[in-house]
Point group: C2
Chain length 583, copies 2
Amino acid sequence: MYRNHTCGEIRMENSGQEVLLAGWVQTVRNLGGMTFIDLRDRYGITQLVVDDHTTDAVKNIASTLGREFVVQARGIVRERSSKNAKIPTGEVELHITELNILNEAVTPPFTIMDDTDGGDELRMKYRYLDLRRETVRKNLELRAKMAHVVRNYLDSKNFIETETPVMIKSTPEGARDFVVPSRMNPNQFYALPQSPQLFKQLLMVAGFDRYYQIVKCFRDEDLRADRQPEFTQIDCEMSYVHQEDVLNMFEGLTKHLFKELKGIDIVDFPRMTFAEAFERYGNDKPDLRFGMVIHELTDLVKGKEFKLFEEAEYIGGICATGCGEYTRKQLDALTEYIKKPQIGGTGLVYAKVNPDGSVKSSVDKFYSPDELMAWADRFGAQSGDLLLIMFGSREKTLPVISSLRLEMGRQCGFMDKENFKPLWVVDFPLLEWNEETQRFFAMHHPFTSPKPEDIGLLDTDPGKVRANAYDLVINGVEIGGGSVRIFDSALQAKMFKILGFTKEAAEDQFGFLMNAFKFGAPPHAGIAFGFDRLVSMFAGLDSIRDVIAFPKNNSGRDVMNDSPSPIAQAQLDELYLKLVKSE
Amino acid sequence: MYRNHTCGEIRMENSGQEVLLAGWVQTVRNLGGMTFIDLRDRYGITQLVVDDHTTDAVKNIASTLGREFVVQARGIVRERSSKNAKIPTGEVELHITELNILNEAVTPPFTIMDDTDGGDELRMKYRYLDLRRETVRKNLELRAKMAHVVRNYLDSKNFIETETPVMIKSTPEGARDFVVPSRMNPNQFYALPQSPQLFKQLLMVAGFDRYYQIVKCFRDEDLRADRQPEFTQIDCEMSYVHQEDVLNMFEGLTKHLFKELKGIDIVDFPRMTFAEAFERYGNDKPDLRFGMVIHELTDLVKGKEFKLFEEAEYIGGICATGCGEYTRKQLDALTEYIKKPQIGGTGLVYAKVNPDGSVKSSVDKFYSPDELMAWADRFGAQSGDLLLIMFGSREKTLPVISSLRLEMGRQCGFMDKENFKPLWVVDFPLLEWNEETQRFFAMHHPFTSPKPEDIGLLDTDPGKVRANAYDLVINGVEIGGGSVRIFDSALQAKMFKILGFTKEAAEDQFGFLMNAFKFGAPPHAGIAFGFDRLVSMFAGLDSIRDVIAFPKNNSGRDVMNDSPSPIAQAQLDELYLKLVKSE
């Protein structure tokens, strides 16, 4: 070994000992007669000292050191005269007797400090330098720790960690697959898995009973902010269970993670139906760190001269507690916010509750003071509160209110990253109607079981069928999702039919699964957690990029090694492929 | 839950209790008045009983059960009258009061028993049924357990588990890459990693200090028996270490695995240079479960009339202990064996040591009894032993002797699968000369460090340079391999030059690595274990296929789901690709 201690472990009790360290030069401070060198490794920083007693040979080497040089230093541990209480090694320093430069370094393009001067792009290009920063490395260490805790928990619950293939069969359902041309099977392709869904179900048919895997998944989507073409899931499946058993098992895992990694005890997670979440929060992933629930006013506001409300299917909004003092300018900014194209609101009506309990609104000429008081009552508004009311079709307006609710939560400081409010959202619709293609799509995936009491509706009103599907939502972020699966080949065939598969296409794509079901499939259900997102939430980050060692950018490129890249003609020939020029 | 106990846990102390089980029907034995049903799940088998006291409703359902039906059974635990000592639940049985068929099953294409009647192909096609067999599932359970023990060991040694990308830059060195066309970057491709080599080296540059990952790797090779296009490695890298530190760390891991998983204590692993391994065993992965080391006879046999020896560069062989009684027929079979094209021997000379110490050989007319006795002495042969001698060029003959040595090991019963003999092979050559392309290739990979004392030879005689590279070999199987890495960008550039890269090609392919080295690369070294092979060795299997949940066949096909498969024209269009018809 080039060292016998790390830079993070020397303490007062090592005083007088000779130790050998190796690491990177963080800083060199030359104070005339003395030189202090901060030597850094993953474990910490130790101060090296060059002074009058140091040999000339060492002094000469020390004088050539630059930032990020890799050095090996032998020396005697001594108590510092001026101690640094901020670091664990701050009471001691190393008086060096031997100094070797193991590797030189050119000046890095940004400072290797928690508070760096490097912009995003530069740090991505030199990711290996960015990873030297403690803040970034700590995120990756948290990731490793979380994987460890997850595995130990699931191992203790009898789950068998099982690897499923990365090169699988391409299926048209769901998002776009990345594909891999097969050289040995010309003109045929593997796909990279969007999830190990079919394999984990087959493992249940195989009697594995409980399966898990922390596994890479792939989706060839146009990348929105904070999506990666490859991402990691905690993927799980259980046999002989009902929905409630899955929720309890993974609520247990989540509580365990909070306890082990953050020392936080979280009480039982509330449950909310998809219908209630949409009605009261305007989306399927309510952020429960604050109230401001949505109330509908449609019944209270109709029958007046106010045309916008008269024409609207739905009128409702939120009560922003204590925001009654918002200025005209602030209110205009909120109107502008909801009218952004990506939010899609049409207009905002507001009403303030005055200190005397009266209500002042932007629609005073249409509604009497008593009527406005009735609105305020509906929200339970107090004096000093602000009502923000939106209108339009029910389907489009509730999401707009949801966006404004979250914006108000941010403005009011309710988005505390260390306040964790988990929630199970249940009873999702089984199917979603797509106007463009005039067909139903599976909301979760085609293997999700309808609720038994709704099976009759499959023939009469498929859009109304609820699924035994569930999402784990924390602070407005979908952390995990899953479902009870269909385990009957006849019902599975019916699902494919409703989803517009011909019998032949279903057979071609999923025949092996339906066939497997004929040999005795047990009832089973599962869940998958977005591992990147879970880590980033625990790390208090907004982006998953900082918890991935080597992430790709929004065009799916690794700017560090400049990939993807062209390949040789010979390689294309072997694969029986020809490039088509893009426009 | 569909059950409150598993089929493996009921014991005498549960007598009288009502329990609820779920599982698969293994067998139904109808003995007139009584019916016995073996109910199976992953945890074991419990016997269900239908007798005179059973309700008609249950009797009726029981009469319809077939093999592999999925059922739920409630009943009272009772002591058996005729106990089965072979299974842990053999003292009790369940007198059923309620029986539900959860799913029917058509008759499986082979019996779900350890000793099945299914052939290989059938079992691959119905892999989900094959996995129901306890022997197969146990292999996968062992795999999960080994992953668990490996991770805990490496975590305890401060290794950070870090995920590296699956979609990476394609590099031409090494085996053929699988590639993934990028839709967002038309006419460009990702590659699937043959190993995370570059990323783990960058993690060392990043100061991660110790990295590991149990990770899928990919190679598009023509599949020999027991190769898979995707396979799993235990991939590791360490900073500030010498070769010896790596060997000690991973010898520690290997001993820990033998102790934890098989209860075996293994003493320190011997070390052998590549040169010695080739000289004494004829290959770079000696099987040390038995002796029969190779001895050279060249100096003893020259200068006689025997033309085959006169013309040969090298003459040598092995002493097969106690095989002096081999018949003419057996000896002919050995000659045929070494003459097989894949072994490539030219001929076999034998000599037997008689009970009286005299030697009888197939070349008696060329050599005197004393000369033959000198041969026997060289081998330390005893009476009753058989000398098997081959001849030709040194490079070609030693591997032939190696093959015959292993064949004799098999014939003599020395290949005990539960006798484990690990060995480090060290000091591999850095480079291999390829006649066809008239250039050097890296024997390990282009990032392997030459031995410091051999660096001078890089300019004068590159073929002679030894590398700081090492393999872990157990029972003649290469289980792991690694090297100390080059960490100096100038030396790395020189290596690329020796390997025939132009400056531009090296810059294009590996510029980011050489660039990274300029910012302060620490000395580092690493190793990768073939995880599939390690599990299969621990499981006592010859093939890695049985330790992979869903393996592919020799054409890289998954015969269960019939992939790879064609993809839609629209998908090809999006990827700017056109198929070329194969012949």
